[in-house]
């Protein structure tokens, strides 16, 4: 068995090559301590390929580079596959030169030979191989040419270990680039001058002063519609119906002879919990299909470029816009998509802010209270909550940026790659992997939490009980005083908010059960418009649901999860308190 490290600049077709070499035979994990994906795959019986993060150099202090460096220093790495963009050799070969310090054989894969040819670049591969002292294999990963040659070389371990040519001990960037330019002068020939590329033509429209933002909004709208209206949500609803209208009654009939509490455990606890996980899946899959498409096509980098100035105000870079926008649909895929961000700071800070974007599940709560207390003004009230969430993201982002994330200041340097049509195979593999990891890792956390909440809401010290007299209701009564200064301190509200931790839309259902009757006529006895609004503000901002918390834990670990839970409770309380007190003050004056 030989281990090959796959390395190269971003946007040179590394993932496409990795998928072409390994097919579906790959495993995804995390590098220790950071949220950078570690992908391993196999081809044949005896070649293992480890896909390292896309980097431009080995020594410019990013986590991606550190990981790659540490990995290459390991003894069990037999060969480095360095994939480069044949149409842009000078920058790509810089990394190649830095790879020499590891004293491992290098196979230089010249990808996009077809693109280079179209640009009028001719490359003498034999000469290049001699000058660089490495095996050179020209391929086109998208057109699948040259891949077999590469496989053959790897399978037969047919690479030569080059000795560093001592004529140039290169240790600064300028010397390396000068040396690269000399080599390229000998080994390549460029015909035809600078012509306007298709990418430049597209950018003239897509990044145009007047059209850029309308086009950007259109793209976001399409992705959103695709996920939440056209494909993802309808599939989720179908799955939800399948579970609740068919599977649950069927299981119920199977269990009709058994214990009442056992039935409740299986149906309310486990099936309720697992059901709530499964129905997220289609939304997540479609959303990631959309995001991968943007990413692979080259538009994502442009979106980051367009949004950078705005996102900077909350301490983030432009790319963080995407997870935030996704958060309006559902925080779970929003947090999962923070992985695509450039720096660890951006990833963490964005994950903390995403739940402030008011998600779909909170809408039923808004609709209920707004229709009872603000008839005729529902839209305005609901819209104000969405705006409040966005405003909070800016404020909290600014505060976190100045405090806990202070040290990690990354310059914004982002390549705008050439546009290309994404490879269907890459999109599907990426999307499927997201779904798989979601089911495997988050499923267990949500499952456990659902069973715990079920237990608390179905039992008291004397055994199986109604929710009105359960552990959860005791808990609700105990924490109730916290909510009195916010104007909505009834134990029914406290318990509803607690159950809302399972999923936000549950708040409405719980209120129905706990107040016992038609909410529209009952609620005015417990709320006035101001306390109702304070309650909505609290629902908007308080602790994210279990699925979201599980996503934070999976991506960023327990500490971040705790931070996410605690800061949002505090924020929700403080803001609801301000709203309620300020409201009373103003109403008093009027």
């Amino acid at each position: 068995m030989i281990t090959a490290a796959l390395l190269g600049n971003p946007n040179v077709g590394k993932t496409t090559l990795f998928n072409a070499l390994t097919g579906a035979n790959q495993y995804v994990g995390n590098w220790a301590g950071v949220t950078i994906e570690k992908k391993e795959g196999f081809f044949g019986k005896n070649v293992k390929i480890v896909d390292l993060p896309g980097i431009y150099a080995m020594d410019t202090y990013s986590n991606e580079e550190k990981i790659s460096k540490e990995f290459l220093q390991r003894d069990d790495v037999d060969v480095v596959i360095n994939i480069v963009d044949a149409s842009n050799l000078s920058r790509n070969l810089y990394l190649t030169f830095q790879l020499r310090q590891f004293n491992k054989p290098v196979v230089l894969v010249l990808n996009m030979m077809d693109v280079a040819k179209a640009k009028g670049i001719e490359i003498d591969c034999d000469k290049l191989s001699k000058r660089l002292g490495v095996t050179v294999i020209p391929i086109s990963a998208t057109k699948k040419t040259g891949i077999n040659k590469l496989k053959e070389v790897l399978e037969n371990s047919n690479f030569f270990t080059s000795l560093i040519d001592n004529d140039c001990q290169l240790d600064n960037e300028a010397d390396i680039y000068r040396h690269i330019e000399e080599i390229l002068k000998e080994c390549t020939r460029t015909t035809g001058g600078d012509t306007i590329t298709p990418t430049e033509r597209i950018d003239k429209l897509v990044l145009n002063k007047y059209l850029a933002y309308p086009f950007f909004i259109l793209v976001m709208y399409l992705i959103f519609q695709f996920t939440f209206s056209w494909v993802g949500q309808p599939l989720s609803d179908m799955l939800d119906m399948l579970v609740n209208d068919y599977l649950v009654p069927w299981v119920g009939s199977l269990l009709s002879d058994s214990n009442e509490w056992f039935q409740s455990l299986i149906i309310d606890g486990i099936m309720g919990g697992v059901g709530s996980v499964i129905v997220f899946l289609p939304v997540i899959l479609t959303l990631f299909l959309g995001i991968s498409f943007l990413e692979d096509s080259g538009y994502m980098a442009r979106a980051a470029f367009l949004m950078d100035k705005i996102m900077r105000r909350m301490g983030l870079s432009g790319k963080a816009f995407i997870p935030m926008m996704v958060g309006f649909g559902c925080s779970v895929p929003g947090i999962m998509s923070t992985r695509t961000l450039e720096s660890e700071k951006d990833r963490r800070l964005t994950a903390l802010l995403v739940p402030l974007m008011s998600c779909n599940a909170k809408l039923p709560v808004y609709v209920l209270l707004a229709s009872v207390f603000f008839p005729g003004n529902q839209t305005l009230i609901i819209f104000s909550l969405y705006l409040l969430g966005i405003a909070m993201a800016f404020i909290v982002g600014w505060i976190f940026d100045k405090t806990i994330f202070k040290k990690d200041e990354e310059p914004f340097i982002i390549e705008l790659p050439e546009y290309k049509m994404p490879e269907m195979r890459d999109l599907l593999i990426h999307t499927w992997r997201k779904g798989e990891s979601f089911l495997k890792k988050m499923g267990t956390v949500i499952f456990a939490a659902s069973v715990i909440i079920w237990f608390l809401s179905s039992f008291n010290f004397s055994g199986f009980a109604d929710i009105n007299d359960s552990f959860l209701s005791y808990l609700g009564k105990a924490i109730n005083p916290i909510f009195i200064p916010l104007g909505f301190g009834t134990w029914q509200n406290s318990v509803s908010l607690l159950t809302g931790i399972v999923a936000k839309e549950v708040v409405v259902g719980s209120m129905g059960v706990l107040y016992g009757g038609d909410l529209k006529s009952i609620l005015p006895g417990f709320f006035n418009p101001l306390s109702a609004y304070a309650f909505l503000v609290f629902v908007l901002l308080y602790t994210p649901c279990i699925s979201t918390v599980a996503a934070v834990k999976k991506e960023y670990g327990g500490k971040m999860m705790a931070l996410s839970i605690v800061y949002q409770i505090l924020l929700a309380w403080v803001v609801a308190f301000i709203v309620y007190s300020l409201g009373n003050l103003i109403l008093g004056i009027i």
């Binding site: 431009y56 150099a57 020594d59 410019t60 202090y61 149409s87 842009n88 000078s90 920058r91 810089y94 960037e173 300028a174 680039y177 000068r178 430049e200 950018d203 990044l207 002063k209 007047y210 850029a212 933002y213 980098a301 980051a304 470029f305 367009l306 950078d308 100035k309 705005i310 900077r312 310059p411 914004f412 340097i413 982002i414 390549e415 705008l416 790659p417």
Partner: protein, 74 residues
Amino acid sequence: MSINDLKTGQSAVIHAIGGNPKLAKRLKALGYIEGTRVTVRGSAPLGDPIIIKLRGFDIALRRKDAEFIKVREG
């Protein structure tokens, strides 16, 4: 003169890279070396960041970072 002083479509030759060492190192690794020709391809509609073309590829940079790329005519 820094790269920020160039108008869209204008090109110049890199004279020096300043700023904090981390930024300078990253830029140099990307090929921002003295004597290399750069062209400003445009800016975001809000004026920042800008797109710089160099060695046949495009990089987006914030103006506050681009300020450290000193250029001369040529």
